[in-house]
Amino acid sequence: MCRMWEAIRAGVKWNLNTRLANATRAVDLKPVKSIKFSLDPFHHDNYGIRTVWFLIRRQKILSTNPDVNIESEIRYDREPPYFTTELNDGRQIVFKTSGMHPADIMMRFNRLCGNPEWGKYGKKPPEKAKEADLKAKGKDKKARK
């Protein structure tokens, strides 16, 4: 009964920070060829693009596609920020991020790349967390064999 209650109340608890974390879990860069972030550092509305940039440069997300090319461009023309992506299909996306919360940006990005918008919700089950811990410490028996 408690799990269903949690699942139903997930819509009530629309906290943007948790939604952002959930959307970054779902980011899969396999259909993406390159991303280029272009911003003016003195523009008032850089928060969204900077958090998205910071989160995409995590090891877990980059390891989904090691061939992704992430570039940056710093401008001084007082224009709003944007980032462009090239996909493997040949499509291009020009994303103008001024005024958008990073959670919305991540959701749209996932949707346009063809991935599901949300990742898994909640903590890892304790068995998987233990395995991940042992692997990190190097005490995994299977790795030694």
Partner: protein
Amino acid sequence: MAVKAKRVEERVDGNVTYVSLEDVPEPSNVKYFKKQNEKMCTLCTCDVPVEITYRDILILEQFMREDGTVLPKKLTGLCKKQQMHIERCIMQAHWSGLFPDKTRPDFDRAGYKRFNRHWKDDLDIYKLKLKEEPGIWYYIKRYNPKAKEYVPRKKE
């Protein structure tokens, strides 16, 4: 004061899609009402004579998303009491199978939970039901296991 709404627009131009935030234009026939008390609960003011139960899905659907989750209190505009009432009714409706299109894969429907459940009340989920079978207590009272230990008091 009017609230300026914004919308995310995607413009496709051949191979390129442009995503940006655009202003939604105000409708021309906007009427400005006097500023009422902002904390007005729609269900309290409607004063429905009948209590809303889990069976009133047409009402409950208006406070739900399409995947079966409930909208937050800020969007529904209900008071705390009505919001919790509706959340409980929606959960009861899920358990009684009245939302077949809105089940989620997280739902635990193993064993006894695969059958539909029904309730009398909204707060019935918190009440523990004790089954009373009229034959049992009668049988136990018939047999007194401590009958042999009883020693009558001596009259002086």
